[in-house]
Amino acid sequence: MRKPYLYLAAALSVFAFESGCASLGVKAYDRDLLSRDEMRLDANPVDGAIDEHLYFSKEASSGGRSYAGGGCGCN
């Protein structure tokens, strides 16, 4: 199975790219767009939790964004 290694290599490349470039980023006074509510990575935690619960009980995969688990899913 080559696919997982390809994904891992791609992820590590992004990781190295992101962490290796200290020049990335902006000054605090340039965060007007990033500070908007909708730009928060957890902008809609309740929507996210309801969707996660749906997918957890209907699919074999869960989590990734945060921890997986948390229920029986027996239906």
Partner: protein, 425 residues
């Protein structure tokens, strides 16, 4: 004179009342300072199967020292028809609900008409989950977060503890997070936990079962540019214990497709999963967009890919927004998944016909509309929203059906809708 005294007296009383009201209001605003409230009422319905009502309340308060306390309460009420894992047949099939102890006596029995997917029509379950989190700054750049969650159903209790530490670098443009969680579950299946692989007609069941899970998450969040934010997560988790669905059975067929009987599913008692998750968000003046990708694999040989995108359009001076979204998901089957069994024993020694372990792909189409009240209105800054979603699963890699079952829909998939109303401030 008396009239003017009365007027003055009334004026003083009114002024005292106004002072009191002002004090109460300022006390209330002091209590509400730093508080955010998020709530939703969701209704979920599958085509001819389960329906659920789910109210959720999420309350958090930020204290002067930067600590954040969060409390989440979720309630689910599920009812309807839950597929039991057996295949449709050309003849009527009779099953017992989990509380049944015989396939002969009339109580707790249900009969499925020819051609219909076997599903227990009396499924009913309620769940309540309470979660809390306490986030505290250890320094200007380091945050510790401790959490716990308790979830209870009629036949299931789950407790989870979690801890994570986040460190900011590079003028807070880079955040690295390391988290760990531990879950302990106790299962008390209605009627008892069936012995895996046992004959369904034998009602060979025993008592309470348990499983536990350990998860680790390593995350990196990076501000890329003024408009672009990126997050990368690597996660790993391992579950150990009773991993069967105690209510799922598998049909046993002869070569022509006649049903010879049913056996309870038998999954391995350990499962390890790994995932990579990448999310990017980009903002323009009144529009922002997000795209997330996830790859997950486990040692049951399930591999899945997920892509999810949304676009956020703000309008009416940012008091309203519209957010269409789309999600695509695909998974391969577990190596022990089989829609039915023959008289030969499965190669892996394990078997399950639960379609959630089969190969399928799924789409979700969604849209959310929200209206924010202006901050000087009655419910200052409140946001009211409505969200609609349509979810569809289509099963892949269908095996050729035995001759007697070729006219039946053995892979019905799943269609569902979700309607959600939200209020937050």
């Amino acid at each position: 004179m008396a009239a003017s005294c009365a007027l003055l007296g009334a004026g003083a009383a009114q002024s005292q009342e106004a002072d009191g009201a002002q004090k109460e209001q300022s006390q209330l605003s002091r209590i509400l300072e730093g508080v955010s409230f998020d709530s939703a009422l969701a209704y979920y319905r599958e085509d001819g199967r389960i329906q659920a009502i789910e109210p959720v309340v999420n309350l958090s308060k930020t204290f002067a020292g930067g600590e954040i306390a969060t409390l989440n309460i979720t309630f689910d009420s599920l009812s309807g028809a839950s597929p039991n894992g057996a295949l449709p047949s050309n003849v009527p099939q009779t099953f017992a609900s989990p509380s049944g102890t015989s396939l002969i006596t009339g109580r707790h029995l249900y009969t499925i008409a020819p051609g219909r997917l076997p599903a227990d029509p009396n499924y009913q379950d309620d769940r309540i989950a309470v979660a809390g989190e306490w986030e505290l700054p250890l320094s200007r750049l380091t945050h510790l977060s401790l959490g716990g969650k308790l979830s209870g159903e009629d036949d299931f209790i789950s407790a989870t503890l979690s801890a994570s530490i986040a460190q900011d670098f590079n003028e807070k443009n880079t955040t690295v997070l390391l988290g760990i969680n531990n879950e302990f579950d106790s299962l008390r299946p209605i009627g008892g936990a069936p012995v895996p692989d046992s004959d369904y007609a034998a009602f060979d069941k025993d008592g309470t079962k348990s499983k536990d899970g350990l998860g680790v998450l390593l995350g990196l969040t990076q501000v890329m540019t003024r408009r672009w934010l990126s997050e990368l997560n690597l996660s790993w988790d391992r579950f150990h214990g009773y991993l069967n669905d105690p209510y799922k059975i598998t049909s046993v067929l002869d070569a022509s497709g006649n049903t010879l009987g049913y056996v309870y599913e038998n999954r391995p008692d350990e499962r390890t999963r790994r995932s990579v998750y990448l999310e990017n968000r980009v903002a323009w003046s009144n529009v922002s967009a997000g795209l997330s990708l996830r790859y997950m694999q486990d040692d049951w040989q399930i591999h899945s890919e997920t892509a999810q995108a949304h676009v956020h359009f703000s309008f009416a001076n940012r008091q309203q927004y519209l957010e269409p979204s789309m999600r695509w998901y695909r998974q391969t089957a577990a190596d022990f998944y089989t829609p039915w069994l023959t008289e030969e024993k499965p190669v892996t020694g394990f078997q399950a016909s639960d379609s959630r372990l089969g190969a399928f792909h799924a789409f979700t189409y969604g849209v959310k509309y929200a209206y924010k009240l202006s901050s000087d209105a009655g419910l200052a800054g409140s946001e009211f929203s409505v969200r609609l979603e349509y979810y569809q699963q289509i099963q892949d890699h269908r095996l050729a059906a035995p001759v007697l079952l070729q006219n039946l829909d053995l892979y019905p998939g799943l269609k569902a809708i979700l309607v959600q109303f939200g209020w937050r401030f």
